[in-house]
Symmetry: C2
Subunit: 454 residues, 2 copies
């Protein structure tokens, strides 16, 4: 039988707790520093931007953090998400590998992002917040927060990286249909935006700039908070529902992954899948090979420096130690807008530093080739970001074929590509280009890293 198999988990099995990897790490991640004093920040320093409940999750060392029942109830609309054994893809590749994927595109907004958008909106609502400002790249995060905002009656303002705003009008239309307000970044609505536009009126934007704008808006008003779709500990925490469900589903499949694969932009779909498995390994369980896959044109884990840096371009955020290309680095406008961030989640950076994971970088054309092969075999059209994970999973499966060994490979199919069809049309027409990393700009951005005593 070479038919794709779905492993379904009853909705009673939606996790009751998020999993916090920090509890199981041999050393804690380096502290977050105040941008002025370079001293560790305390919870109070973050109160202008986040509700205290999320700040406490951000700094928590508890292994399990309870998922509020209203959040679980909303999760139930699309969770547990399915886990598939990709038998049709295995057959197409003629590989002895067992390929599994967890599919997060079943959420209303079409990606893993609602896993954290919903609790973030919930905790903000509980704290009496009326409006949330945020940034988005490709629009997966912006549309997810717009969805969550609609559920809780919170106004959402999204600063969308200009290159994506122009490339993906339909993602913007989705946010607007949910009732959010979407602004191209850099914009004239903030000082951070105006400063950039004064220097370069046609600036294509970056996640770092959009974050600056959203943070500036949130810091100005008591009833307005900021929300981030990746990078931060509490965001990765919320995403662990993905890996926790996948562990149960792999048990249902009577199998266990030898290799885990996820694409990495800020690190949240990757961390969400792999942290529960890494935790089990750290507690004495099976050793798993973990591969983070990033775009060669924005390669923070493979080419960045593990150093203290700002999360944004205008330097309004605290300093975190992470793999970074420098906060002024502007990646080229390739199609995986969700992977165009100069930094990497501090927790993902820390586990790479500890040698618990490895990283690999791919150019976009080869990733789209993998995505099309996947779509023809499995029927699901993946997001360009997810194509990176598929590329690496297929390459590992082909290695199994060469070596004549069967390994279980599990990857996170973090979203569908229904709003990314221009990229597929460009690929099919042979117009997709592999943009080179600007080595000069990278060197300059790295040279500009703030000097912080570790």
């Amino acid at each position: 039988m070479s038919e794709t198999v779905k492993y379904f988990l009853d909705e009673k099995r939606i996790p009751k707790f998020w999993y916090n990897l920090v509890a199981d790490l041999p050393t804690p991640p380096p502290p977050v520093l105040h941008p002025g004093t370079h001293q560790p920040v305390g919870p109070a320093d973050l109160e202008a931007l986040f509700p205290m409940s999320l700040i406490l999750q951000e700094v928590s060392k508890e292994r399990e953090i309870e998922i509020p029942e209203p959040v679980r109830t909303i999760y139930r609309q699309w969770r547990p998400s399915p886990l598939f054994r990709a038998r049709r893809l295995e057959k197409a590749l003629d590989t002895p590998a067992r390929i599994y994927y967890k599919y997060e595109g079943v959420s209303p907004a079409g990606s893993h992002k609602p896993n954290t958008a919903v609790p973030q909106a919930f905790f903000n609502k509980e704290a009496g917040i009326k409006k949330i400002a945020t940034e988005t790249g490709a629009g997966q995060w912006g549309s997810s927060l717009a969805f969550a905002g609609a559920l809780f009656g919170i106004d959402v303002q999204v600063f969308m990286v200009r290159v994506s705003y122009d490339q993906k009008p339909y993602r913007r239309a989705l946010m607007e249909t949910y009732g959010a307000r979407c602004v191209a970044s850099p914009s004239n609505e903030t000082q951070a935006g105006r400063d950039i536009l004064a220097k370069r009126p046609n600036h294509p934007g970056s996640l770092g700039i959009a974050i600056s704008e959203a943070v500036e808006v949130a810091a100005q008003r008591k009833d307005t908070n900021y929300a981030l779709g990746s990078v931060l500990n509490h965001v990765l925490l919320h995403q662990t529902v993905v890996g926790l469900e996948a562990m149960e589903q792999m048990t249902m499949a009577d199998d266990s992954p030898d290799i885990l694969v996820g694409c990495t932009g800020g690190g949240s779909n990757f961390g969400g899948l792999v942290f529960p498995f890494l935790g089990a390994q750290l507690r004495g369980g099976k050793k798993v090979r973990v591969i983070a896959v990033e775009p060669a044109a924005c390669p923070s884990l493979t080419r960045g420096k593990f150093a203290y840096d700002f999360g944004d371009t205008a330097h309004l955020t605290p300093l975190t130690k992470m793999h970074t290309l420098g906060s002024t680095f502007t990646p080229p406008g390739f199609h995986s807008g969700g992977l165009r961030y100069h930094g990497m989640a501090p927790l993902v950076s820390h586990v790479q530093d500890l040698g618990l994971i490895e990283a690999v970088a791919y150019h976009q054309t080869t990733c789209f080739a993998a995505g099309v092969q996947f779509a023809r075999a499995e029927g699901i059209l993946p997001a360009p970001e997810a194509n990176h994970a598929i590329r690496a999973a297929i390459d590992e499966a082909l290695k199994c074929k060469v070596e004549g060994v069967s390994r279980a490979i599990l990857f996170n199919l973090c979203g569908h590509g229904h709003f990314d069809m221009q990229a597929y049309m460009d690929y099919t027409a042979g117009k997709l280009v592999d943009q080179k990393l600007d080595e000069g700009e990278l060197a300059m951005a790295l040279a500009g890293l703030p000097s912080v005593k570790a």
Copy 2:
């Protein structure tokens, strides 16, 4: 608790049989006639276009027709589809109605169409067919058959109505990603297409014309068949998995529908949902009010004639008795491309003639308003076709509010609108127009109906 609830059915409960309404009808539907002789056609007359297994389903009077196990196995990738109680929408409407929806957008191609595309590809493969030619309007059907063709290694050629081909390049990109070949219709590839282009070079196309082209291609080669995405008995038969699952899910919800709603283009998502409920009613079960919702700009059930007509414009198909606007009628280019067909499924037409269902027609703007309200409450962005069903369901729910009664309303949310964002952008920008039916063209098309003694 005002949270939307999902009723999930274990995959073991995917139906083992399709349900054939003909077995329970008080009178059989009128026979299909040969276009030349006006005598009833036999199975052999259809062999140039369809495999015998599908022809036998088309004329079957058996109540249950077994679903082949390989088809059930593929169904398992996304079936059973979820049924939701729309509590958030109920709250937004402040209605005592209980609103339920069956969601078919979870399939890989994003609509109910793969429910029949997969068995059609399966039976054609069994019959040794190498290529299938078909038509598509909005592209829901074309992309579903492209998906099914990829699974079974069958070449798929899609004649796509030109206005949709131009309006929806991304639907086309999806078909091409699955490996199908997509051609704008009318095209120069067939005599039927060339004849139309000779008279009107900029013809926007219609489903009737695209059917003529696909039938012409299929009739020419022994290894090539034709497939239709709606209208025919066997297509509606395959779609009954929707209603059969919904019956079980309503039982899980400890409820039973008072009102059933579906949008109607060719009639397949509508028939798929309502036929199993109608059958139960005809066997002595609960009486249910059934509402077919059609576009006011292409209103076959509310303005068409119940008469023998051709299924296509070039008159290559047999004659079927159905509600029709005339086979030469070209509807305006509104956004629900899936509802732009001049005729209606003979079985749906027959049950309307028997007084078992009622029909209502809406203009598109009010349907989009309903779709946006639905998206903000439930998070799912519906296809423009499905917005028609939502409009009627909301109107019935608002009637419940006025009357102070609680009724259970179940509608078929037949697909997502991820490839229809231009329509949502137009709606948000206030640019969507309610196209008027061309009364002159309708009168002329109706006057041209073939004269057949009933």
